[in-house]
């Protein structure tokens, strides 16, 4: 990020990064139409640490995909840093996903053929960063998640926790405005999940906005703001526990 961008970020600190207004999404399969989202209003400002919780089928994954610009809503308006997402071209959306959004998935979604550091390099490659610079920044990102020594390993040679750290490094490598994590601890044991959670919550210190989608109640306890959704609607949105120290163990 150039100094100019940094200044813009400071000025925009209270501006919403994400602004959803009456977002709806319905899937039609054959004769049946399923309304996954039935009018979501959500405003996320820079630097927030937020969890979206809800039972299976509540529409939280769909919401996540819309937030990540992987899916177009059926109706409603989505502004990302003020820009209406519906108006962005497909190539523009790809660039937005690459530079502004970092994804962390439940099943890690690392490419098995690539080494850890190459997986982390992926977003930079599509962003047009030169090879040497890519490697340098990817190694930095790995260092940040505590995996500097494991960069040459393939995903299959890493433990679940390590894989998720690689995925987080990949999400962070472009210094995105928002990190979207879909069930980041879902495939991990309690202890490892705890460490991953700690890593994600620590990102707030660096000024990142972190949105986690989960049904793990322990995540709900760690965040400043909790959004609960059910049947495609927001049921509750607010601070769970005021004064929670997101960095605390």
């Amino acid at each position: 990020m150039s100094p100019g961008d940094a200044a813009a970020v400071v000025r925009a600190a209270d501006e919403p990064v994400i602004e959803l207004t009456d977002i709806r999404k319905s899937y039609s399969s054959g004769r049946f139409a399923v309304d996954a989202l039935r009018g979501i209003d959500l405003r996320i400002t820079r630097g927030e640490l937020i969890a979206i919780m809800g039972p299976s089928g509540s529409g939280k994954t769909t919401l996540m995909e819309i937030l990540g610009c992987l899916l177009q809503p059926t109706a409603g308006s989505y502004r990302f840093r003020g820009a209406p997402v519906e108006a962005i071209t497909p190539d523009g959306l790809a660039a937005l996903r690459g530079r502004e959004i970092g994804f962390v998935f439940q099943s890690f979604n690392l490419l098995p053929r690539l080494s850890a550091v190459e997986n982390v390099e992926l977003p930079l490659g599509y962003g047009g960063v030169r090879r040497r610079e890519r490697r340098r920044r990817a190694e930095q990102a790995l260092e940040r998640v505590g995996l500097a020594a494991r960069g040459r390993h393939r995903p299959a040679e890493l433990s679940g926790g390590e894989r998720q750290r690689v995925a987080i490094a990949r999400a962070l490598v472009n210094e995105p405005s928002v990190v979207l994590a879909d069930e980041p601890t879902g495939n991990l044991d309690t202890h490892t999940g705890e460490a991953i959670l700690e890593l994600l919550t620590s990102l707030k210190r660096d000024g990142a906005t972190v949105v986690m989608v989960t049904h793990d109640p322990r995540i709900g306890e760690r965040v400043e703001r909790l959004v609960e959704i059910r049947d495609g609607r927001i049921e509750h949105d607010g601070r769970v526990r005021s004064g929670t120290d997101p960095d605390g163990v």
Partner: protein, 414 residues
């Protein structure tokens, strides 16, 4: 993502699933090798045919006198025609499209050497016959103008005639008998090899050449205006002007013999070039190319199948790539390049294999009628061209399918 990165990615993918890659590659390798080998072999067949038809003489055209055709005269009066040396001289003087015009007569006679006697085809020739036939004198000398003038009893033997008559004991200087008269062997011809077209009853290697004038004294017919000639031989300048040259000669001769120029029976003109043109060498070449190209296309279908399967298996990877910022175009490029790299690799291996096949066959082929593959750079260019087309065609569909994959579906955890 730049093309170099995508190419590197493609190579990596192919390396990881190397067994599948190798199996798919086989189709392309075999196809390209087939194109290279079959085209080269076809060219070899053509060259061999041209060689074997051309051995009788370079761009040879022969003119035989016949009988006036029934369309031009009442059946009872079908006059027999003959050609004399004067006719040959007249043609030589007036023809423009032929560099060599010479007479030849032939007969079978018993030929003896020491205790051996055999029947051989005796040809009465002029000195230029060596040039027209394109043969080499391996020992001694050819028939000279002097021999002709003095009606000398000298003979030049073809390689097989020499084997049959002289065996290992005789050579230049040996005395032989032709029709009971003593002759001296003054020269030997080097081996010509199998002819697919021959004039008269013998191949060049089996002939005994003596001066034309000497043969004329063997009781052959005598014409009023000079010695009778069995046939006239011409070497035309090139194949393109052959028909025109034939027409020219026919016109001159028809005028002298007072027959119609349209009377094909009175003046018969033959050429190995006619026979060669009747062989469907172009069709053969086309067939061989089609065979090779079809094999290559089938190889391309194999790649198409593999890549479609690969796209299906790597839906998740495609989803991840889209999520981290890949444009549809990047995915398209990636899969397209993968197909292209594999086709290119297979193609280069195939060209190498095809060339190796050609070299192997060339090293084996020694017999007269076995074609030697002829490798031209154009053949390799054609193989590369067809290969590129196949790679392009079989890469397009999988790449487009990959680029259309919906990331939100592939990234769902269950």
């Amino acid at each position: 993502m730049r093309v170099a990165d995508a190419a590197r990615e493609a190579l990596r993918t192919l390396r990881v699933s190397w067994l599948r890659t190798a199996l798919t590659l086989f189709g392309i390798v075999w196809g390209t090798a087939s194109v290279v080998f079959l085209i080269s072999w076809g060219l070899g067949v053509r060259a061999m045919m041209e060689d074997c038809y051309g051995r009788v003489g370079r761009n040879l055209v022969q003119v035989f006198p016949g009988q006036i055709g029934s369309d031009f005269t009442p059946a009872a009066d079908r006059r027999l025609l003959w050609i004399t040396l004067d006719d040959v001289d007249a043609i030589r003087a007036r023809v423009r499209l032929s560099s060599l015009v010479l007479p030849e007569s032939q007969t079978f006679r018993s030929v003896g050497f020491r205790q051996t006697t055999t029947s051989l085809n005796i040809r009465g020739v002029v000195p230029e016959n060596v040039e027209l036939r394109g043969v080499e004198v391996s020992a001694g000398r050819a028939i000279t103008r002097d021999d002709l003038h003095h009606r000398r009893r000298v003979a030049v033997l073809g390689s097989k005639a020499r084997e049959r008559l002289l065996g290992p004991h005789g050579g230049v200087g040996s005395s032989i008998r032709i029709a009971g008269q003593p002759f001296t062997v003054v020269g030997l011809l080097s081996r010509v090899g199998m002819q697919l077209w021959q004039d008269g009853p013998s191949q060049l290697d089996e002939q005994v050449w003596i001066p034309f004038s000497t043969l004329a004294g063997f009781g052959k017919r005598q014409g009023r205006d000079g010695d009778v000639v069995d046939n006239i031989m011409l070497s035309v300048k090139d194949r393109e002007t052959r028909k025109a040259a034939e027409h020219e000669v026919r016109a001159i001769l028809a005028e002298r013999l007072r027959v119609s120029v349209d009377d094909q029976e009175a003046i018969r003109i033959m050429s190995p070039l006619d026979a060669l043109e009747k062989i469907p060498l172009d069709q053969l070449g086309g067939l061989l190319f089609t065979l090779g190209a079809t094999t290559l296309v089938i190889g391309g279908v194999g790649i198409l199948t593999m890549m479609l399967d690969s796209v299906q298996q790597r839906r998740q990877e495609i989803g991840v790539r889209l999520a981290v910022g890949a444009r549809r175009r990047d995915i398209l490029t990636q899969f397209f390049l993968e197909t292209f790299v594999i086709t290119g690799l297979g193609g280069l291996l195939g060209i190498a294999l095809g060339l190796a096949g050609c070299l192997a066959l060339a090293s084996l082929a020694t017999a007269d009628l076995i074609p030697q593959p002829i490798v031209r750079w154009q053949t390799i260019a054609i193989a590369l061209g067809v290969m590129t087309f196949v790679g392009f065609a079989s890469g397009l569909v999988p790449a487009r399918r990959a680029a259309r994959i919906d990331p939100s579906v592939t990234l769902r955890t269950e």
